[in-house]
């Protein structure tokens, strides 16, 4: 069927776009990749509906295995399979009510098919399944307890220190129109902010912002220079700071899906593990920005 072929073609094209976006200059474009995932979702939904309705029309009774076999036949082959694994296991998206590619299609609910391997993963609704988790060598949930970030009570700021330029920038969560320089108070946004800082380690979402925990309450003051901030801080071991880890990188798809099969992920995970050890031991920082 022409439309079914188009759907499969669209899935291939979309996965190819996601793949190529990883290497493009300037980092991954979050907006573009979000839109690509919508196309993927729509095409997948159409394909599943088409396939299931076809099966239901032709055969009344079918082994689950046979259904899977048919689905596997339709799986994306080659290197896209990896991307499918990456992608669908972490994407929930929003199911649309109806759509068409030229003609109205019935909105069949896709059957939930338990998936044991990545190939079927492309064809079913994404399910959070611990069997599909990234091995511990990457972003590990074993050490989840180490990542229970001490949530600050009074602070709603993030201070960023750039060792290259000695520029310190403070981003305050929320803005009080009348008294922006007043004493620190608990703004409305703080709880929301706090809630967001809890990390969900069921999914391998690598959030570049939260590599480092906050080291407790932060006084509402401006940091002028590297030397001053080091002098003020008891938490930072200034003598061991050779460089700091950047937490303000382009998020893009690295926050959007797990990168378990790429070299970049290996580097990323290795650095993350080093960072965790660093936090615990207070030594061996790489080129970081976020201080406290």
């Amino acid at each position: 069927m022409e439309c079914a072929f188009d759907a499969q073609n669209l899935i291939s094209i979309s996965l190819r776009k996601i793949q190529s976006s990883r290497t493009q200059r300037g980092g991954i474009k979050l907006h573009k990749n979000l839109l690509v995932t919508y196309v993927l979702r729509n095409a997948r939904q159409f394909y599943m509906n088409k396939n299931l309705s076809h099966i239901q029309r032709t055969q009344q009774y079918e082994d689950v295995a046979a259904v899977r076999e048919r689905q596997e036949y339709l799986e994306i082959t080659g290197s896209f399979k990896e991307l499918t694994d990456d992608f669908y296991c972490n994407f929930t998206g929003v199911e649309s009510d109806s759509w068409h590619c030229g003609a109205h299609q019935p909105n069949d609910q896709p059957a939930e098919v338990a998936h044991q391997d990545a190939s079927a993963c492309a064809m079913v609704s994404p399910v959070s399944d611990s069997d599909l988790m990234v091995p511990e060598a990457c972003w590990s949930c074993v050490e989840k307890s180490a990542w229970e970030l001490p949530v600050p009570n009074t602070t709603n700021q993030k201070t960023v220190l750039d060792l290259d330029t000695h520029v310190v920038t403070t981003v305050t969560n929320g803005y009080f129109h009348s008294d922006c320089c007043a004493q620190p108070k608990q703004p409305q946004g703080a709880h929301y902010y706090t809630k967001k800082r809890k990390m969900d380690t069921n999914y391998y979402i690598i959030d570049p912002e939260f590599y480092l925990p906050d080291f407790g309450p932060v006084p509402f003051k401006r940091m002028r220079a590297d030397e001053d901030s080091n002098g003020d801080s008891d938490q930072l071991d200034s003598s061991n700071i050779s460089n700091l880890i950047s937490v303000l990188g382009s998020g893009g798809l690295s926050e959007f899906m797990s990168w378990q099969h790429t070299d970049l992920e290996q580097i990323f995970a290795t650095q993350t593990i080093c960072l965790k050890q660093t936090l615990l031991t207070g030594s061996g920082w790489t080129r970081a920005i976020e201080a406290f």
Binding site: H31, V160, Y203, I205, L248
Partner: protein
């Protein structure tokens, strides 16, 4: 300031007639990537026109004073200053390069002889001061004219250095650098009418800055979900209200515009107004989400209306009505049947900007094949024009173009399949006080002006 807009209807085309004025940029067919224009912006008086490119450079053109001897009453735009605003940077952790491409330029209102503008790439915003120097001190006691120090033993008398005129030199110097406050790619900057603050927006957050303070920023909008897999929407553009310093709006990839009030709360995650047009279920397709994503949003000069540009249309919204736009203009509906191809070649992700005329009566946006479209809101007339070096005789009137989808093609019409999707006009700007427009093709800047205005003054 009075804008003269024609109310007479010509037989062929009612509304304004546009004439070619100037074209800036290389003539070569091969376009260097660094020369691709990425933003165009007039200053508040219109006598300065700034362009930014992918190579991180900014070129500022200045309008020459009107010459009474010339037939045209408006002065030409000539290069005033060129400088490198941003350089490529490197993010060590992610092994990613931060592009130097200038995403946006915004002029600050002029307070003294110097001009100030904000320019931004994906991560860093800079405040630039552009000032003129036409005098230099001469007659130093200790230094020669070339700067070398004199032999002190030869100095027998004392003189007072004096300022002597010199050739005009325009200097651009970075006065502030606003860095390290955005995790995601910055898509917008907007100067507040309070003349003190400005906002910067990336995919998920909007920050508020003071123009003088670089080490502190306030996050006022944050739509990042707790779990990134719940992400369904990103911020695509943001802007302050032209005269209400507490009001800002931002558009999203879901086709939604949110109006926020800074007085309501510290964090403006809760919008004051939400503008969304219900989707037509009959037009649903694989690409519905993409084509409904808003590429640009602009307040009218009056602040009463907003304009949004999605892939196929321009919509005008009344700030007081959230349910639907008051006007919708189809820019290139003929592309609806081509969306699959446009998705494949990435054209569907092109972000076209839109702009208002000075009196908000006409809106303009770009399209493919170096076409740009104007919609006259008053007389409901629209026109398609082309920015091309083939039609660049001075003062030559631009002929309206038409795109046909049918098999029969009239003369001067072009079929959809013949459109060149590599030649696109993403960035346009309209002089705030006059009928002069700047239209950027890939690497050329075209300046057109309204013909009728000239006739009336002659």
């Amino acid at each position: 300031n009075v804008l003269v807009i024609s109310a007479e209807a010509d037989d062929e085309n009612s509304g304004m007639e546009w004439c070619f004025s100037q074209v800036k940029g290389a003539i070569d067919d091969e376009v260097a990537e660094a020369d691709i224009i990425s933003t165009v912006e007039f200053n508040s008086t219109g006598d300065l026109l700034a362009t930014g490119d992918k190579g991180g450079r900014i070129v500022i053109f200045q309008q020459e004073p009107e010459s009474k001897n010339q037939p045209q009453c408006r002065g030409e735009y000539n290069v005033y200053s060129t400088f490198q605003s941003h350089e490529p940077e490197f993010d060590y952790l992610k092994s990613l390069e931060i592009e130097e491409k200038i995403n946006k330029i915004r002029w600050l209102p002029q307070k003294n002889a110097a001009h100030y503008l904000l320019s931004t790439n994906d991560k860093t915003i800079k405040l630039w001061k552009i000032s003129e120097r036409d005098k230099r001190p001469e007659g130093y006691n200790l230094k020669e004219e070339d700067g070398r120090y004199k032999d002190f033993t030869t100095i027998a008398s004392l003189q007072v250095p004096v300022f002597k005129p010199m050739d005009l030199m325009v200097e651009a110097s970075p006065r502030r650098v606003f860095a390290n406050a955005h995790t995601y790619h910055i898509n917008s900057i907007s100067v507040n009418s309070d003349n003190e603050t400005y906002l910067s927006a990336d995919d998920l957050r909007i920050n508020l800055w003071h123009q003088e303070i670089t080490d502190q920023s306030f996050n006022i909008v944050d739509i990042k979900p707790a779990n990134m897999e719940d992400l369904t929407e990103v911020i695509t553009a943001a802007e302050f209200h032209p005269n209400q310093c507490q009001t800002l709006l931002y558009s999203s990839s879901k086709g939604i515009i949110r109006l926020c009030d800074l007085r309501a709360a510290a964090l403006c995650d809760q919008h004051v107004k939400l503008f969304e047009e219900p989707e037509d279920p009959n037009s649903r397709s694989f690409f519905s989400e993409i084509i409904s994503s808003i590429a640009d949003v602009k307040f009218s000069h009056s602040g009463r209306y907003m304009m949004t540009r999605d892939y196929l249309s321009v919509k005008i919204w009344d700030v007081n009505m959230e349910t639907r736009p008051i006007e919708t203009y189809q820019v290139n509906e003929y592309l609806r049947s081509k969306l699959c191809s446009l998705y494949e070649n990435d054209c569907i992700f092109d972000k076209f900007e839109c702009c208002w005329s000075g009196d908000d009566s006409v809106v303009m946006t770009g399209s493919y094949n170096n076409f740009f479209r104007m919609f006259d809101r008053g007389c409901r007339h629209d026109v398609t024009l082309e920015a091309s070096r083939e039609h660049c005789k001075p003062q030559s009137v631009l002929k309206p173009r038409r795109v046909t989808t049918g098999g029969k093609r009239k003369k001067d019409e072009i079929s959809v399949d013949s459109l060149d999707f590599n030649r696109k006009i993403l960035h346009t700007a309209w002089h705030p006080l006059d009928n002069i427009i700047a239209v950027a093709t890939t690497n050329n800047l075209f300046i057109f002006q309204d013909k009728l205005n000239q006739q009336l003054t002659n």
